[in-house]
C-alpha cells in the first residue's frame, strides 16, 4: 500500500495527516474541557453539552453580523469579543439550568442524563425556530484565511493553527483555575468529599453552580472556536456529544491531564487511519478501540485515587 509513494511524499502525508489530527485534537480538547469540569469534577452527565457549544457558536454568528453591520472597521478583531460574549452567555444559561434542573438530581445521575437530554431537545428546537434549520457560517476575518507553507509539500491552514493556540491557552487557563485558584481548590474539595467540604465552610451549592456555569462557559468558547473551521446547525451539537463523553471517560473522569492525553490519542488515531480507510471505518475502528480499552480499564487512562 505504500509502494506508490516516495519516501518524501510519505513523510509529507504523515505530517499533514498528523496536523489534521492536531486540529481534531484541539477540537476534542475544547469540547472535552468543559465536560471534564462538569462530568469529571461534579459527576453530572450533561447531555446538553453539545447544545451549549452550539449556543456559543450562534453567539459568535450574531456578533460577527453585528460587527459587519455597525463596526466594520473593527471586524478583524470581532472574534475575540465574540468569544468573551459566548463564555458569559453560555455560563449564564448553565447557571440557570443548574439552579432550575440539575441541583434537584445530584443523587440520581442516570436521571440527570435523561433530563439533560430533554433539555438538549428543547434547545435544539429553539435554535431551529430562531436561526432556521439551515446551517449558518460566519465570515472569517482576512488574516485567518489561507494557509502557511512549511515546506513545498507541507501546508498548514492558519485557522487550524488559531484553533490550536486557542485550545492550548484555554487548557492552561482551566489548569490554573482548577489547581491554582481558591475556586479550584473548593471545587476539588467538594468533589472529593462533599460533606466534609461543607463542614469546613465551603458553600457547596454556590460552588456547584459556579462550576457548572464555568464548564458550560468553556463549552461556549469551544463552540465559538468551531465557527472558525465549520458551519453551525441546530443539531450539530448532538454529533459531538458521544465523542466528547468518550474522550472524558477514556482519559479518566477526574483528570485534566488524562482528558488531554485521551483527546490526543483518539484524534491522532482517527486522522491517521482516515487516510488508509474510509472516514466511517476509521471512526468505527477508533471508537471500537476506545470502547475495548475502557472494558479492560474502566477507570480510564489516568485515574484519580479517591476514597468513596
Amino acid at each position: 500500500m505504500f509502494a506508490d509513494y516516495t519516501m518524501g511524499e510519505l513523510g509529507a502525508i504523515f505530517a499533514m495527516q498528523g496536523f489534521a489530527g492536531l486540529i481534531l485534537f484541539s477540537v476534542f480538547v475544547l469540547m472535552a474541557l468543559g465536560l471534564a469540569i462538569i462530568f469529571g469534577q461534579m459527576g453530572v452527565i450533561n447531555m446538553a453539552h453539545g447544545e451549549f457549544m452550539i449556543l456559543g457558536a450562534y453567539v459568535t454568528y450574531i456578533t460577527s453580523n453585528l460587527f459587519a453591520d455597525y463596526l466594520p472597521s473593527l471586524f478583524s478583531i470581532y472574534f475575540f469579543i465574540a468569544m468573551i460574549l459566548a463564555f458569559f452567555v453560555t455560563a449564564a444559561l448553565g447557571m440557570l439550568v443548574e439552579w432550575s434542573l440539575i441541583r434537584h438530581l445530584y443523587k440520581r445521575p442516570l436521571d440527570t442524563l435523561l433530563a439533560t437530554w430533554g433539555l438538549s431537545l428543547i434547545l435544539q428546537q429553539i435554535y431551529r425556530s430562531v436561526f432556521g434549520a439551515r446551517e449558518v457560517g460566519v465570515t472569517i476575518p482576512d488574516w485567518m484565511m489561507g494557509s502557511l507553507p512549511l515546506t513545498d509539500l507541507i501546508e498548514v491552514p492558519i485557522n487550524g493553527i488559531f484553533v490550536m493556540v486557542l485550545a492550548i491557552s484555554i487548557s492552561v487557563a482551566v489548569y490554573f483555575m482548577m489547581y491554582r485558584s481558591s475556586w479550584g481548590k473548593q471545587v476539588r474539595a467538594v468533589t472529593q468529599n462533599r460533606v466534609m467540604a461543607g463542614a469546613v465552610g465551603i458553600n457547596t451549592e454556590r460552588t456547584d453552580r459556579l462550576t457548572f456555569g464555568i464548564g458550560c462557559g468553556v463549552a461556549g468558547v469551544a463552540g465559538s472556536a468551531f465557527t472558525m473551521i465549520g458551519s453551525t446547525g441546530p443539531t450539530a451539537g448532538q454529533l459531538y456529544i458521544v465523542d466528547t463523553f468518550l474522550v472524558v471517560v477514556f482519559g479518566g473522569a477526574a483528570s485534566l491531564l488524562g482528558t488531554i492525553a485521551s483527546a490526543f490519542s483518539i484524534s491522532q488515531a482517527q486522522s491517521i487511519m482516515e487516510f488508509f480507510l474510509s472516514g466511517s471505518m476509521a471512526k468505527v475502528l477508533t471508537l471500537l478501540t476506545v470502547v475495548g480499552i475502557l472494558m479492560l480499564r474502566p477507570q480510564g487512562l489516568f485515574a484519580l485515587k479517591l476514597r468513596k
Binding site: 445521575p109 442524563l113 448532538q238
Partner: protein, 380 residues
C-alpha cells in the same frame, strides 16, 4: 415494593393484565381501521424494548442507552431473510448480477457475501433474530459487568456502541443497505405481508408475542431472581457480600432485555416492511428509554402503555405541530424525571389504586386492609 406475597400474580396484576389484553386484543382491533391498527402494531413493537428496559433499568438499575442496537439487530436479521426472498433471480433480472439484493448490485457487489447465505433459511433467521442480539449483549455484559463497570459509565459505553453500530451500518452500504436500510420487503415464504389481511394477522401475532414476553418478565420479576435484582440495584455491595455473583445476574437481565428488544425489532420489520439505521442509533435508543420512563420504570404493564402513549403523541403532534413536538418531548423528559420518577404506573399506584381498593373493600367489608406504601424513586 413489589407485591409482598410470592404468588406469580397478585389480584392487581391479574386485573392489569386482563385490562391490557382486552385493550390490545379487542378494543384496538375493533375500533381502528387497518392503517391505524398497523400503526399501533408498530408502537407495540417498542413496548417489547420498554419491557426489557423495565427489567434492566427499573429492577436491575442498569441503564442501557443502546437498546436500539438489539432492536435493530433483530430487525435486520428478519429483514435479511425477507430481502433474500424478495431477490429471486426472476425478480431481479434487470440487475447486472441477478439474484442478489438490489442495494448490493448498486454497490458493485457481484456475489452474495458469505454471512448473508444462512439467511436463506427461515429457521436460521428466526433463531438468529434472538440469538445474534443475545450473544452480542452477552459479550458486552461479560466484558463490562465482570469488571464492575456500572451506572453512568455503562450508559455512556452502550451509547457509544449504538453510535458505532449506526456508523458501521451506514458506512458498509454494499452489505447493509446503508442509510436507506433494507427496503422493499414483500413476502414471507410466499405470503404477501403488504396486504391488509396480512397486517391484521401480523398485529395479532405481535400482540401474542408481547403477552408471552410480559409473562416471562412477570415471572422474572416475581422469582427469587427478580428480588435479587432489586437488592442489587439498591445495595450492590451487600448482595455481593452475601455470596451472590452480581455480574451473572446483571448479564442475564441485560441479555433478557436484548432478546425482548430483538423480538420487537423483528416484528417491526414484518409490520412496517423495512429496517433502517434510523432505528438503531443514539436518538431512537434514548427515546426507547423515555417510553419506559413515562410508563413507569418499575412496571412492565406501565411500559406498554408508555410506549403506546408516547408514540401516539409523537404521531399526532408531529403531524399537527411539528415545531412543538420536540419541545413537548423535551419537556416530557424533564417532567418525568423531576416530577414523576415512577411514571404513569407510579401515579396509578399512588392515586388510583388505593381509591379503587377502598371502593372494593367497602363493598366486601374486608377488615384486613392491604398497605399500599408509595414507591420511592430508586436510589442510584
Amino acid at each position: 415494593m413489589f407485591a409482598k406475597d410470592n404468588k406469580l400474580f397478585s389480584t392487581g396484576d391479574i386485573v392489569g393484565f386482563v385490562v391490557l389484553a382486552v385493550l390490545i386484543f379487542i378494543v384496538l382491533p375493533a375500533g381502528l381501521d387497518t392503517f391505524r391498527l398497523n400503526l399501533f402494531g408498530k408502537y407495540l413493537t417498542y413496548a417489547f424494548v420498554a419491557i426489557g428496559l423495565v427489567l434492566c433499568w427499573g429492577a436491575g438499575g442498569i441503564l442501557s442507552l443502546g437498546q436500539g442496537v438489539f432492536f435493530g439487530l433483530g430487525g435486520y436479521c428478519m429483514a435479511m431473510f425477507l430481502k433474500l426472498e424478495a431477490s429471486t433471480p426472476e425478480a431481479t433480472k434487470i440487475q447486472s448480477t441477478p439474484g442478489i439484493p438490489d442495494f448490493m448490485d448498486w454497490n458493485q457487489i457481484t456475489a452474495l457475501p458469505m454471512w448473508w447465505e444462512p439467511f436463506n433459511s427461515l429457521t436460521f433467521s428466526l433463531i438468529a433474530v434472538v440469538l445474534v442480539p443475545v450473544i452480542f449483549a452477552f459479550i458486552i455484559g461479560v466484558a463490562m459487568f465482570r469488571r464492575r463497570v456500572g451506572g453512568v459509565y455503562f450508559a455512556i459505553i452502550t451509547q457509544a456502541i449504538a453510535a458505532i453500530m449506526t456508523i458501521l451500518i451506514i458506512g458498509q452500504q454494499g452489505y447493509t443497505g446503508g442509510v436507506n436500510g433494507i427496503t422493499d420487503l414483500r413476502t414471507l415464504l410466499g405470503w404477501d405481508i403488504r396486504t391488509d389481511e396480512a397486517k391484521v394477522i401480523l398485529y395479532f401475532v405481535n400482540a401474542v408475542l408481547l403477552f408471552v414476553c410480559l409473562f416471562v418478565a412477570q415471572f422474572i420479576r416475581k422469582s427469587k431472581l427478580g428480588r435479587i435484582l432489586i437488592a442489587m440495584r439498591d445495595q450492590e455491595d451487600r448482595v455481593r457480600f452475601s455470596g451472590y455473583d452480581v455480574a451473572n445476574f446483571k448479564i442475564f437481565v441485560f441479555c433478557a432485555g436484548a432478546a425482548f428488544a430483538a423480538i420487537g425489532g423483528a416484528m417491526f420489520t414484518l409490520q412496517v416492511g423495512f429496517m433502517s439505521p434510523s432505528f438503531v442509533g443514539i436518538v431512537p435508543s434514548i427515546e426507547m428509554v423515555i417510553f419506559c420512563a413515562v410508563g413507569g420504570r418499575l412496571s412492565i404493564l406501565g411500559a406498554v402503555y408508555g410506549a403506546l402513549l408516547v408514540n401516539l403523541a409523537k404521531t399526532t403532534f408531529s403531524e399537527m405541530f411539528p415545531e412543538l413536538w420536540l419541545l413537548g418531548l423535551g419537556a416530557l423528559f424533564i417532567a418525568v424525571v423531576l416530577a414523576f420518577p415512577n411514571g404513569l404506573a407510579g401515579l396509578y399506584k399512588d392515586y388510583v389504586e388505593p381509591r379503587l381498593m377502598a371502593l372494593f373493600k367497602k363493598k366486601a367489608d374486608d377488615g384486613g386492609g392491604r398497605n399500599f406504601d408509595s414507591i420511592k424513586a430508586p436510589a442510584e
